[in-house]
């Protein structure tokens, strides 16, 4: 295994090296870096041109210039020991410094979105595979194709208009007219009717129930002016937490043996108690406190599972931890929404942002700042998720269908294993093996996806740096961007190979 990894690292390194060479030549050829100066009428034109030629070593032919660049870049391999030098941009700023500023923004943008797209896409893919040829399957398949075919910038413009500008306008006087509530209720009814398929009676009841619940809830929320100061409230949190407990139990163990459920419920219960017990701590915590609380949650979950799990200790521990974290996330969300009112006042009612990663010069409590980030992240995240989600859904669906056809799935059923075990244990893990490759590609590609997203939403991340520099024929930042994107691509491909070996014991030995 170690030999396998070492070999993989060495090969990857040389591939990356060759890729930077190709990229360097292409970039050097992309335009005339002296173009703007040659057209300028500045009196010191000649001197400026001379300075730039020296700055970019333009007197050296491109293939040789690459090695000058490489010499500086080699310093980045050994942190602290050597100086990492990726050259300067046209303005003479160090590229490493530019990347240092841009990288965190990009990571913020893409990590959450990619993880979300992955989780949603894989879940939906599995469900549609299990319910092949249902109306849900057809709807999801059509949506996936539609999302595939959407240009992300087009979606982004729509999101900005409807998700931010008009939504903020509406927030100024948030009331849902009864007609709109009815229409949204019908849409929700249709949605649930498709999700919960069945015979005609069941469809109609589902539609009616969803319609009444959604339209009623909207009307109620509108009447109580909920939208002016949204929040979950402890009752909603408690009910949802219990729901999470049941869901995780259903996934990891089923209900034949009750101890797992008890552990999960206990975990949810402790979470609710903490809502009150930790109220003062959570008024304005630091990020570290939140991380600490999450760790405590995991520990408590493990303890509960161990103590209450009985014969299914392992499953109980999983269920308790997952439920605890889910409940924690609910409490977090509730607190975040709690800051809505004051935050909205501070930003003049324009809650959902269209541009940038933060409100400039914004200062507030932990929750207000968190909300500020969230409101800036939400639209670009939706845009990215929409596109990646479709890919994950399609791949997971076909991979899952392939696996469900396998003999060992039939064997698992013939043992009398419950359908839950057949899907979660036997089919899922095998279906995930090809998906790891997709994940690697997607993670690596997401950085280049950021080029468009950042440009539309005005984030000053890596993608923006790349596009702006390329437009200005500024080679070093372009190469800096590629170094990061290429390294990510190579790294994630390598990780995929290792994950592959981890998931599939057949690879592990060879």
């Amino acid at each position: 295994m170690l030999v396998f990894i070492v070999r993989r690292v060495i090969v990857s390194f040389f591939i990356l090296l060759a890729a930077t060479f190709v990229m360097y030549l292409l970039t050097a050829n992309a335009g005339n870096p002296l173009g703007d100066l040659q057209e300028s009428r500045a009196p010191n034109r000649e001197a400026l041109i001379e300075a730039r030629i020296r700055l970019l070593n333009l007197d050296t032919p491109a293939p040789l210039r690459y090695f000058i660049w490489l010499k500086g870049a080699a310093g980045c391999l050994v942190p602290f020991a050597m100086e990492c030098d990726l050259g300067q941009n046209l303005q003479g700023q160090d590229v490493t410094a530019l990347l240092g500023v841009a990288l965190p923004q990009t990571l913020q943008l893409v990590i959450a979105a990619t993880v979300l797209a992955m989780v949603l896409g894989i879940t939906v893919g599995i469900v549609t595979a299990l319910r092949q040829y249902s109306s849900l399957d057809y709807t999801v398949t059509f949506s996936a194709f539609l999302f595939f075919s959407l240009p992300i910038f087009w979606v982004a413009v729509l999101l900005k208009e409807y998700g931010a500008i008009r939504f903020n306008d509406w927030l100024a006087d948030p009331s849902v007219p009864i007609g709109v509530a009815v229409v949204l209720g019908v849409i929700s009814g249709l949605f649930w009717m498709i999700v919960i398929s069945g015979d005609r009676t069941r469809r109609l009841t589902t539609f009616a129930a969803a319609f009444v619940a959604s339209a009623g809830a909207l009307w109620l929320l509108s009447e109580t002016r909920w939208f002016e100061d949204p929040g979950l409230g402890i009752i909603v949190i408690a009910v949802t937490a219990v729901g999470i407990a049941f869901l995780t139990t259903a996934l990891v163990a089923g209900f034949t043996y009750r101890n797992v459920l008890y552990a999960a419920l206990a975990s949810a219960g402790i979470g609710i108690v903490c809502h009150f017990a930790l109220a003062s701590v959570l008024d304005d915590p630091s990020g570290l406190t939140i991380v600490g609380l999450a760790l405590v949650t995991v520990a408590v979950g493990l303890g509960l599972g161990y103590g209450l799990g009985g014969l299914q200790r392992r499953q109980a521990m999983q269920a308790a931890v997952l439920t605890g974290l889910g409940t924690g996330a609910l409490l977090f969300l509730d607190r975040l929404l709690g800051a809505w009112d004051t935050y909205s006042d501070q930003v003049g009612g324009r809650v959902i942002a269209t541009i940038g990663a933060r409100t400039p010069n914004f200062d507030g409590t932990f929750w207000e700042q968190g909300l500020d980030r969230a409101t800036h992240l939400i639209l670009p995240t939706i845009a990215i998720v929409l596109i990646s989600f479709a890919t994950y859904t399609r791949y997971t669906r076909s991979s899952m269908l392939e696996v469900l056809n396998q003999d060992y799935v039939r064997t698992a059923r013939s043992k009398g294993l419950a359908e839950r075990g057949v899907i979660v244990k036997h089919a899922f893990r095998n279906a995930m093996i090809p998906i790891t490759t997709l994940m690697a590609f997607d993670f690596a590609g997401v950085l280049s996806g950021a080029v468009i997203t950042e440009n539309v939403f005005g984030w000053t991340g890596l993608g923006r740096l790349f596009a702006d520099s390329l437009r200005a024929v500024d080679p070093n930042p372009v190469m800096g961007f590629f170094l990061i994107a290429g390294t990510a691509a190579v790294l994630f491909n390598m990780l995929a190979d290792i994950a592959y070996a981890f998931l599939d014991p057949r690879i592990r030995l060879s």
């Binding site: 591939i15 990356l16 060759a18 890729a19 190709v22 990229m23 292409l26 970039t27 050829n29 992309a30 335009g31 092949q132 040829y133 059509f142 194709f145 539609l146 595939f148 075919s149 959407l150 240009p151 992300i152 910038f153 087009w154 413009v157 208009e161 500008i165 076909s398 269908l401 392939e402 469900l404 056809n405 039939r410 690596a444 590609g445 950085l447 280049s448 996806g449 080029v451 468009i452 440009n455 539309v456 790349f466 596009a467 390329l470 437009r471 024929v473 372009v478 961007f481 590629f482 994107a485 290429g486 691509a489 190579v490």
Partner: protein, 332 residues
Amino acid sequence: MSNPSTPDPGPAPGAAVAADAQGMTVVARTQAQMVRRRFFRHRAAMGGLVVLALIVLLAFSSIGFASVPGWWDKDYWSIATVENGGRPTLSVLPTWLGGSGMHLGEHPFGQDNVGKDYFALTMRGVQQSLTIAFVVGLVGTFIGTLVGATAGYFRGRTEAVLMRFTDVMITIPLLVIAAVLGRRYGSSGIVVLGLVIGLVTWTGLARLVRGEFLSLREKEFVEAARAAGTSARRIIVKHMLPNIVGVIIVAATLAIATAILLEAALSFLGFGVQDPDTSLGKLISNYQTAFSTRPWLFWFPGVFIIAIALSVNFIGDGLRDAFDPRQNRVRD
């Protein structure tokens, strides 16, 4: 819909015997017939085919192509006075439904801010998108097949060199390399842009074809051809490629869909088609800020991009189902 799990119902008695007796040609023909039949039964794919055909017809007949004039009396470069705020005059709602009747009007898709006819502009954009997609698909498929087939057939050092090169190219994200190339060649016209993008979009197909070739070259009929002294070129072209034509066609279709979106993205970023020419992505980019005031400038090119990409994707899906019906069917 679903395939039953009857243990090998087997082909119809007559077909099997006939195929055995007359050799490969009979099988190939029946397979092609089955593929065609499955494809024509795929409703979404047929829908996609019809929509795509209509769009192609509309785009190339309306404003003409190259020096051939079309039936639409306006062009996409002439500046005119903006009438009625540049609003679209297209109307599809008949009078008896409360609309103003079905007619195209003077400027069916409206006018842009200098009064150019937006219908003509959009049609030009569609032409550009289709052209680039076609060129990219053709070039990418050709190179990908060539590299993959050569690597998979000859193995050894040839394979090592070609596949390492593929690995290198695959490391560079498509949008990044396309943007860099677009920056250089965007102003040289759509066909050149398509050619250079095609030069970098073959990597996935090369891997796919190589994989197929690796398993094919072990098959008896290839061994037999080799034993008979057939040349490598002939074995590859006559014996092996026909067996994976399905894989290639499906990949090519999807590459075309990707290319359409890629061109749009490049033009949106400013690295694609350059002034005075236009493309769908460029139109959206130009008028994204006008969305609140003149939304039609944003909607028309967007709808055409989606319609084209969606049609091509559906056609690709239909082809995949037709060539490999196993993929989407559950046996038990």
